[in-house]
Symmetry: C2
Subunit: 148 residues, 2 copies
């Protein structure tokens, strides 16, 4: 009783996207986890600060679409480990400007290198067309602006 023609689960986009996302994240995850004890939210915050420089938790939330509690906890852990500093805004004391420490910048540069090489490796499994169209389609699905 093999009735495998009922629904193409492997073609269902949310399923397919999750499978591909999980699988393609594994190797990079090993690195930021083993090398710096970071979680996914933490490398994301780290990268935002590394790329865009000094910014507030709110701004990170707007760019990354992560929930503010995730960001709050990631910032806490990164601050404990001295990867970033928190600096209260003088005019609006609700705001905290976050900035990478030297150690944070070093970790960022290191992981950025890993990410760059890993992305090249992943891209190599796809044709040029697949690479181009894939990224384009993903951006649409994530409803993100292509640059940002």
């Amino acid at each position: 009783m093999t009735k495998n023609d009922e629904f193409p689960l492997q073609q269902f986009l949310p399923y397919l996207l999750n499978q591909a996302a999980e699988e393609s994240s594994l190797e990079f995850q090993q690195v930021y986890k083993n090398r710096y004890g970071m979680l996914r939210t933490e490398w994301r915050v780290l990268f935002h600060l590394g790329i865009y420089g000094r910014m507030t938790a709110k701004e990170i939330g707007e760019r990354s679409k992560m929930h503010k509690t995730k960001i709050s906890r990631a910032v806490q852990r990164l601050a404990e480990r001295r990867f970033l500093t928190r600096d209260q805004d003088e005019k609006d004391r609700r705001l905290e400007h976050l900035e990478l420490t030297t150690a944070g910048q070093a970790a960022y540069r290191d992981l950025r290198g890993v990410a760059e090489r890993y992305d090249v490796k992943l891209s190599a499994t796809l044709t040029p067309e697949e690479n181009r169209v894939l990224r384009q389609a993903l951006v649409k699905l994530a409803r993100m602006s292509p640059d940002a």
Copy 2:
């Protein structure tokens, strides 16, 4: 001090894939969560049984790449809610054959309809080329066989 040219985070495949996966899963998640109180692992198990019929937890794990503890707990919850039955194999008493109940089949058919319509909706935001190439590339990245 805006130094946003350092690393194209939005082009980093694991990041992009996760963003797209999360975003594109939200709407479907609302349905299986609100309508049946299911978790992601649970609808996945339900679908596997709905599509392929009677099978064991191990077989589900091989197809879905979910960890066995996730599957074990999903099966428990689905069994409690009478969406599936567990039937011990006579020859190898370690094995349990799982099968959807009538209620489980009804839930599967309902959710499958939702999934089909949702997939059409998602596809509609992409061009035909994007749809074709996207799925093709995702299958490669997920290291899955296209049909299954």
